[in-house]
């Protein structure tokens, strides 16, 4: 039984014996939520999505949608649609036929299909592109058609597998906003996959950080960014420095983001370190420090500072409120 809108129960999956891509994951998602699975490639996020879509069968565990066990249903029997990473538009059909494909399969009348296609093209701002072939579209346009095609079926859940991965940075930012707008307008549950932490933070209601087939942490963007529970989350999402607590008089492992490490060239307060490297990029000075126990940490700040040179002694400190203790419960994860 499940009283959530969508629930994953103890999903396990392996492709080669003994190597688990998913090591038993549990997740509850509410209706209308925008949930992002965040992780580096090979962490199991795409497999999770494919299991929800029905394109992959879990070895054990179950998927529940609106109180019903859908684990053994075929992909075409689920009210779930996918926007594929490579768009997967049908090359032999024009834009209108691509978008109307699902409706045609369901034997919706031609007039209704035409109406829906028009509505969808308006939604993704591609009016007048009905007769174009996928080969005649740009990457961003293909992306919009792929989204329109998936949404034309009125799915209960929309799955998006790194939908913006192939687009350039500027277009990606514009599409992020547009997707978020669409999701709010339609009120459909979005499950979104990305390896880009900025994208996850910008769009999601909740972020699930995945690592090696497990969930590291589930939480709002604020929780994930400001209160990481594990060193993996702290480094992956916040590019934080991880160091042993005893170095700074704390217990356990401590995560401090580079912008929160303050440098003192006069060596008056804080802890001593040696400057290993420095570089300047995107208006930020990044200084790599080597601590007394050999740990390397990065400090960053806006603006140049000509006085810091590799090899010199330097002191550093931080505000206690910016230090987060991670990996507290050893070995126990979500």
């Amino acid at each position: 039984m499940s009283d959530s809108f969508l629930e994953l129960k103890d999903l396990k999956k392996s492709f080669t014996p003994g190597e688990y891509v998913l090591q038993g994951i549990n997740l509850k998602i509410e209706q209308g939520e925008f949930v992002t699975l965040l992780g580096s490639s090979g962490c199991g996020k795409t497999t999770t999505l494919r299991i929800i879509a029905g394109l992959e069968q879990p070895d054990s565990g179950s998927v529940w949608l609106e109180g019903k066990d859908v684990t053994n249903l075929e992909p075409n029997e689920r009210d779930v649609n996918t926007v594929f990473q490579n768009y997967a538009l049908f090359p032999h059909m024009n834009v209108a036929d691509n978008i109307g494909y699902g409706l045609k399969i369901r034997k919706v009348s031609k007039a209704d299909i035409r109406k829906k296609v028009k509505e969808m093209l308006e939604l993704v701002q591609l009016e007048g592109y009905e007769k174009r072939k996928p080969a005649e579209l740009s990457g961003g346009q293909k992306q919009r058609v792929a989204i329109a095609r998936a949404l034309a079926n009125n799915p209960r859940v929309l799955l998006l597998d790194e939908p913006l991965g192939a687009l350039d940075l500027q277009l990606r930012r514009a599409m992020q906003l547009e997707l978020k707008r669409l999701q709010k307008k339609l009120g459909i549950t979005f499950i979104y996959i990305t390896h880009d932490q900025e994208e996850a933070i910008n769009m999601s209601d909740r972020i699930v950080v995945m690592n090696q087939g497990r969930f590291e942490q589930i939480g709002t963007p604020d929780e994930i960014y400001n209160h990481p529970k594990t060193s993996y989350v702290a480094t992956f999402v916040g590019n934080a420095n991880i160091l042993k607590g005893e170095l700074v008089g704390m217990d356990g492992t401590v995560a401090i983001r580079s912008e929160n490490i303050i440098l003192d060239e006069n060596c008056k307060q804080g802890y001593s370190a040696v400057v290993k490297e420095k570089n300047f990029a995107a208006g930020q000075l990044r200084v790599l420090l080597v601590l007394s126990d050999g740990t390397e940490i990065t400090a960053s700040r806006f603006g140049m500072n000509a006085n810091i040179q590799p090899g010199q002694q330097i002191n550093w400190y931080f505000d206690l409120k910016n230090a987060v203790i991670v990996d507290n419960a050893k070995g126990e994860r979500l």
Binding site: A53, G54, L55, E74, P75, N76, V80, N81, T82, F84, N86, A88, L89, F90, P91, H92, Y101, G102, I105, R106, K133, P134, A135, R149, A150, N153
Partner: protein, 294 residues
């Protein structure tokens, strides 16, 4: 200026070199392909000699003769056999090539090797192998009898089915390879997208996989249909002259009939028919390419 001059010189050299390389090819094709073809066309309008040889008097009689029921029937029979063979080859070859493309890399290599293996043996020898299998006291009848499936030996040898079996055997690899090469290029995520959008397995196959492998299937049909009209030795060896194909007719008129002009006329008609088929295929596949199938 200097650079320009030297560049134009070198480009002139380049074109000379290119012509020099291509020229032998042109001459070769001219002598060994174009000239004999023209000779054949000319021959088809000449008058056959009294006993043998050719009299160079213009006539349309050779073409008129083709319309005689005996010869027209040969064309009809050839077409029927080609259609039957191609139909069976498609039914066996399409699924074979399609599923071969779905095999893992190692499996593909093995399947390809098995498919190519027979090509290392002369096809006439392989056809004689079929006689051993199909004849009255052959392997097939032996096995069927041992299995108690038949009482009397089947008479397959020197019959229409034997010719069809021979055609399928010789031409099947061409269909398989043709379908395989186009199924190999198929993006399987398109099939997943179709399933995801609500299509059953059969519907997804029909609307996506089949449509996108159609060019391979069509080129396979061309590659099997055209040869199956002309492979007279199959009909001769396995059919025992029960079915006369256009190919055998041409061969017969050249050798025993000593009527070269008539043979030439038959050959010209065959060439026109096959050219028409290739043009038709080109038109269909070009249309597909425009649709993004290419």
């Amino acid at each position: 200026m200097r650079g320009k001059i030297s560049r134009s010189k070198s480009s002139a050299k380049h074109t000379h070199a290119t012509i020099g390389m291509i020229l032998p090819l042109y001459i070769f094709t001219l002598i060994f392909v174009a000239c004999p073809l023209l000779y054949m066309v000319a021959l088809s309008f000449a008058t056959p000699g009294e006993v043998h040889g050719v009299q160079w008097i213009f006539t349309l009689d050779n073409y008129r003769k083709i319309l005689e029921p005996v010869y027209l029937n040969t064309f009809v029979q050839s077409f029927q056999l080609a259609i039957t063979s191609t139909l069976f080859i498609t039914l066996i070859g399409y699924p074979f090539g399609y599923f071969m493309a779905k095999l893992p890399a190692g499996g593909k290599k093995k399947a390809m090797l098995l498919l190519m293996l027979p090509f290392w043996v002369n096809s006439l020898i392989r056809l004689y192998g079929w006689i051993i299998i199909l004849q009255k006291k052959g392997l097939l009848n032996f096995v069927l009898k041992k299995l108690d499936l038949i009482q009397k030996p089947l008479k397959i040898m020197y019959s229409y089915p034997a010719i069809v079996i021979g055609m399928i055997y010789v031409l099947l690899p061409f269909m398989i390879l043709s379908v395989y090469s186009s199924a190999e290029k198929l993006d399987w995520s398109l099939v997943e997208a179709a399933r995801d959008l609500g299509a059953s397995k059969a519907k997804a196959f029909w609307t996506v996989s089949f449509r996108l492998t159609l060019p391979g299937l069509l080129s396979g049909v061309i590659l099997t249909f055209i040869p199956s009209m002309g492979l007279f030795f199959i009909a001769d060896i396995l059919g025992g002259n029960k079915v006369v194909l256009v190919g055998s007719l041409i061969q017969d008129q050249m050798t025993r009939g000593n009527n070269w002009p008539f043979a030439a006329a038959l050959a010209v008609i065959m060439m026109i028919l096959t050219t028409l088929m290739i043009l038709l295929y080109r038109k269909v596949t070009n249309a597909k390419e425009v649709e993004g199938l290419g």
